[in-house]
């Protein structure tokens, strides 16, 4: 056996992962070669030293918990409490997602309930009926002219990543309608739900006079 080959087997010898035959061949070489024998002793000492490092700086369970919590909060955008302030009433639309992930021609969602509201500040609540738990769906809304989410009036398009639980899911959108809007024209809100492989777009029309909502 060559010295280079023998030295390439030192780790396996130390960790006792050599086959019996190979181990015997290596032992024979180590018995005959002073250089390799000395190298092996040195290497074994080195590996023992390294093994002594293993248990350094162990985290406690509470430190693990804190670390995870910090890591998660570092990536979650803070919520704006002011976002919820100021809206006075609500309209409610209902959307069925039954066909979202299974049918190419989904059934038209139906309107469940409608509640009247003030004209300027209002809240649109979408009731979305999902056939199953859906995680990390991208939810995007596009708002018409003169309508904005309260606190986000510089944006006409917003999106979130949402989980939908099986059954009804409520999404409340506090919106503000700018003064001067012709209330006889229905507002049209576009909503897009994308689960990564399938996308569905809804057109949500709200009549500002009757506060009736329809979806298509």
């Amino acid at each position: 056996m060559k010295c280079e080959t023998a030295q390439g087997m030192f780790d396996e010898k130390f960790h006792q992962t050599l086959t019996k035959e190979r181990s015997e061949v290596l032992d024979l070489h180590l018995g005959e070669c002073v250089g390799c024998s000395s190298e092996y002793e040195e290497h074994a000492d080195y590996l023992k030293l390294m093994a002594g490092q293993k248990q350094s700086a162990v985290l406690t369970d509470s430190e693990v918990e804190t670390l995870i919590s910090k890591a998660i909060s570092a990536r979650v955008p803070p919520t704006d409490n002011g976002f919820w302030k100021g809206f006075a009433a609500a309209s409610i639309l209902a959307i069925g997602l039954s066909g979202l992930f299974y049918a190419t021609q989904p059934q038209a969602p139906s309107v469940l309930t409608l509640v009247n509201t003030q004209v300027i500040d209002t809240e649109v609540t979408l009731i979305i009926d999902s056939p199953e738990d859906i995680y990390n769906a991208d939810f995007r809304i596009e708002l018409p002219d003169r309508m904005a989410l309260q606190g986000y009036d510089e944006f006409d398009e917003l999106n979130w990543v949402l989980d939908f639980s099986k059954g009804s899911n409520a999404i409340r959108l506090p919106v503000q309608i700018a003064a001067g809007r012709d209330l006889s024209e229905p507002l049209s809100i576009k909503a897009v739900i994308d689960n990564g492989s399938t996308q569905r777009t809804f057109e949500l029309n709200v009549d500002l006079v009757t506060m009736a909502g329809t979806a298509s």
Binding site: A51, G52, V64, W160
Partner: protein, 186 residues
């Protein structure tokens, strides 16, 4: 922003926390060998966890421990390239060590010396020595996990080991270390 959004955060956070928790101690132990201090190791692990959570790719991982070790390694090397963990020898933290077996003053000195010597290695050699010689990963495992050629890993590990052996012999306490290592055999 929405009621559902708050519910979603709680749900995903809970699932992510449950998924990551079993691996955090192992990640931290390896990160400690990489960075040289408990606090830097916590920062590194926190950084990796935050990144994984934000990118939301963790749910479909087949071999999570190997994948996490790869994320940790890549993150560590990235950070080293930006010099964040350069010259950290002065920051090496002695206050959190727990030594396996019979603890003695000599053992503690040796553990410190080895720890300091490891920190003097270039980052990729430090990482390899830590993964192979301290944490028991084989080179073939690491080749798959880190997606690096076996030959490259082998030569990097060899160089790292040679430097370490040289540093430890030149430290002036070689006799003490030999004594302790020899004593552990009994």
């Amino acid at each position: 922003m929405t009621i559902l959004n708050f519910r979603k955060k709680a749900s995903v956070q809970a699932r992510f926390t449950e998924w990551i928790t079993p691996f955090v101690k192992s990640l931290h132990a390896v990160a400690y060998q990489y960075t040289g201090s408990k606090e830097n190791a916590e920062d590194l692990v926190q950084d990796v966890i935050a990144d994984i959570y934000a990118k939301n790719r963790w749910q479909d991982i087949e071999h999570p421990k190997a994948w996490l070790m790869r994320c940790l390694y890549n993150r560590f090397i990235d950070i080293c390239r930006k010099n964040k963990y350069q010259n950290m020898i002065d920051d090496i933290d002695d206050s959190h060590k727990e030594i396996v077996g019979n603890e003695s003053a000599e053992t503690s000195v040796v553990v410190d010396q080895v720890h300091n010597a490891i920190q003097q290695l270039p980052p990729h050699q430090r990482a390899l020595v830590s993964l192979c010689d301290i944490n028991g990963y084989s080179l073939s495992e690491l080749s798959r996990t880190l997606d690096k050629p076996l030959g490259t890993l082998k030569s990097d590990l060899h160089r790292g080991r040679q430097k370490l052996k040289q540093t430890l012999k030149l430290s002036g306490n070689d006799a003490t270390m030999r004594l302790i290592v020899g004593g552990a055999e009994k």
